[in-house]
């Protein structure tokens, strides 16, 4: 009966469900969990589909390859920032300065490139390093000095806005050199063959991981996802990916004429960046000790502390990750605008990114959230902004646009809340 040694007590203890074919058991289980309120990404996905359908109806051309690409590159900076914020939110903290941190880092990059003639990668590295240092300092202030993160990041929100303004100075904006790889990130495209190859690698990798997992569990005598389900999931991913890659393969040039015929086809490089970042952070959160500790600290800091987790280190690390991702987001935004403004990252940037994470399903009180939330929520926000930009016209349009954006955001969240309703009680 000694737990350290005793190996063979009770497999039947942990799973007493009547065995009735793994597939039907799996489905029954899934439905029961759905009914029980464990909805995962379902509400965000349904919300995304509904909003997309809405705009596709009222705004003809919304689903064209041209607009789809625009949507993706507009969503990219929001999603990247939201990914970083998920870490901070998981600990119940907030980083109000993520937007201006991104702005500052991209300003540093731009200034190095243009005023000091550095190559682009030095600029990017410097921007990223700045982000990491900023995150470390803010995390340290939170974890060691015990200042509430709302106040720290409110202060840095203001300060970084000022620093960016000082750096960019009286020019209003610094324009990135044409043809720099930086600009390519959001403005040039993966060759079509490479797009398909990457998709293939991604789908195969996904399949491999799922299958190896299931085999491992079966070998350990634990119930595993049935192979049929895995195959179905892989096919779904492959289909979605193919549809996207195919549509991105269409030439998106709106007009061709005698003078001019360059082609715009292939998915933007930003997509590759997004997938890469998603895979890395998803893996970190779900399969590493570090990720487990992040959830534990967010769920019950005292429990984590008593279990020997170095809470302050975790706390600092999430700020570092968040600011680092903010820096990347800043670089992506700079690539999108091919320039860095003196007010980069100010305004609603941060609120939209936090909104994205929350709509995706991440809690502001810590302990609940996943990487996919940032992606789905970011897409919802980008769809709303993109769809809205066409809906209302006129020089006073922004007033109506704000109103409608707010209303749609509320609808999306309300829908989400109603779907999740079952969970309470």
């Amino acid at each position: 009966m000694n737990a350290q040694a005793g190996p063979a007590v009770a497999d039947e203890t942990s799973h007493r469900k009547p065995v009735q074919g793994p597939l039907s058991a799996y489905i029954r289980d899934y439905l029961a969990r759905l009914r029980g309120g464990e909805l995962g990404s379902a509400p965000a996905i349904v919300g995304l589909v509904v909003i997309t359908a809405f705009f596709a109806i009222v705004h003809q051309g919304f689903l064209s390859a041209y607009n789809l690409e625009a949507l993706v590159i507009q969503a990219a900076p929001i999603i990247v920032m939201a990914m970083g914020l998920v870490f901070v939110l998981l600990l119940g903290e907030i980083d109000l300065s993520a937007g201006t941190t991104g702005g500052l880092c991209s300003a540093i990059m731009a200034v190095l490139l243009l005023r000091h003639g550095q190559p682009w990668w030095i600029g990017v590295l410097a921007g990223l390093a700045t982000g990491l240092v900023i995150g470390f300092v803010m995390g340290w202030l939170r974890a060691r000095a015990g200042i509430p993160s709302f106040v720290i990041t409110l202060a840095t929100f203001l300060a970084f806005q000022g620093l960016t303004l000082i750096l960019i100075g009286g020019q209003g904006s610094v324009i990135l050199p044409t043809g720099s790889p930086l600009i390519s990130l959001e403005n040039s495209f993966v060759p079509i063959w490479l797009g398909w190859t990457l998709l293939g690698i991604f789908v195969l990798g996904y399949a491999a991981v799922k299958l190896i997992d299931a085999r491992g569990r079966r070998e350990s005598g634990l119930p595993a996802t049935p192979v049929v389900v895995i195959v179905a999931k892989v096919i779904a991913v492959a289909l979605l990916g193919s549809a996207f890659t195919y549509e991105m393969g269409i030439n998106r040039n709106l007009i061709t004429n005698a003078f001019f015929s360059n082609k715009a086809q292939g998915e933007p490089w930003a997509v590759v960046l997004l997938v890469l970042l998603f895979v890395i952070w998803h893996f970190t959160l779900s399969r590493t000790r570090y990720g487990r500790h992040v959830y534990a600290v967010g769920g019950n800091e005292e429990a984590a502390r008593r279990a020997g987790v170095v809470v302050s280190r975790i706390r600092i690390s999430v700020f570092v990750i968040c600011s680092g991702m903010a820096a990347i987001s800043g670089v992506v935004a700079a690539s999108l605008l091919q320039s860095v403004q003196s007010n980069a990252g100010a305004g609603n940037t941060l609120l939209l990114a936090v909104g994205a994470a929350v709509i995706g399903g991440t809690s502001l009180f810590g302990g609940r959230g996943r990487m996919i939330d940032a992606v789905l929520g970011g897409l919802v926000v980008a769809v709303i902004i993109n769809g809205m930009s066409d809906l209302i016209q006129g020089s006073n349009s922004s007033g109506y646009e704000w109103v409608v954006t707010g209303a749609v955001l509320l609808l999306a969240a309300g829908f989400d809340a109603v779907v999740r309703r079952g969970r309470s009680t």
Partner: protein
Amino acid sequence: GNNNNNSSGSSTTPPPNTKVGVLLPDTASSPRWVSADPNELRKQCTANKLTCYIDNANNSATTMESQAQALINQGVGVLLVTNLDSGSGKAIESLAKQHNVVAIDYDRLTTGGTAEYYVSYDNVKVGEDQGTALTACPQVAGKAAVGYVDIDGAPTDNNATLFAQGYNSVLSKQAGWKKLGEQTGNWDPATAQTVFTTMLGKNPTLNAVMVANDTMAQSVINVLKSQGLAGKVAVSGQDATAGGLDNVMAGTQCFTIYKPVAGEADVAIKLAGQILSGQKPTAPATIKDPTSGREVPSYLADPTVITKKNVALPVTDGYETAASVCPTPALVKLCNENGIHTP
């Protein structure tokens, strides 16, 4: 008819109060407020032996109000106000009046306000110049049918309204010109880019884009570039920023509007000097305040349209430095071709 030869006041004995306060609006509507104006104003102040306190309100009316309070507390005798909007401008001017400080509207007229003078470029005129210059762009000049879109400044900014009033009055009168859409870019490049992406998707054959300033023009050009249309479509601008000048040289932007700050700053500071020395100068013109109907004594300057032909002007004037206009080797080459010479 006292005197409107402004320089005569500076040779007399130093006035008892030499403090002038300057309230600038923000940093987003135009980069000029960040360094061009402060630098020029300070230069003029030194030249006129005045002490200048220059504040920027960062687009917040409350901040400007508190800055005004602080400046009045400093004991300034004259307050130059570039309002964020007429309402807060008026509040500041009546505050100034309450505390016996003379207010001058600088660059923007405070409608319904109580400023004693108005020193500016004429913003409706700026808009009209933008409209006229757009019709003269090579991409559209002489065309029978032109489709164009407007991307306006922030609707919260009265100046944006005045600019739009100016260019729309010109463009709507052009035969064969058809407005395909009008949206606001909020002075924000990201918004402008999103908005224009959608506009272009709907109207791929548009010929001209009436953009309110250079920063947003950059976003429009980004989108046009991705479609291989940069240079094929006439794009306007304003402010003669470094980036704007680059785009004008590259031919992707048709023109920008250059408002030499010196033209306003020296007039305003000399005026302030005269007031502080106890005079009541008479202005060369008046502008009718549309709200109160008051005739405001005014000093008005004219803007210059910058096209590829006179692109070097802002640099030779010292408004922009060659270094910031030509940061990369490719641009240095372009600059040299267009008469901007880097050291």
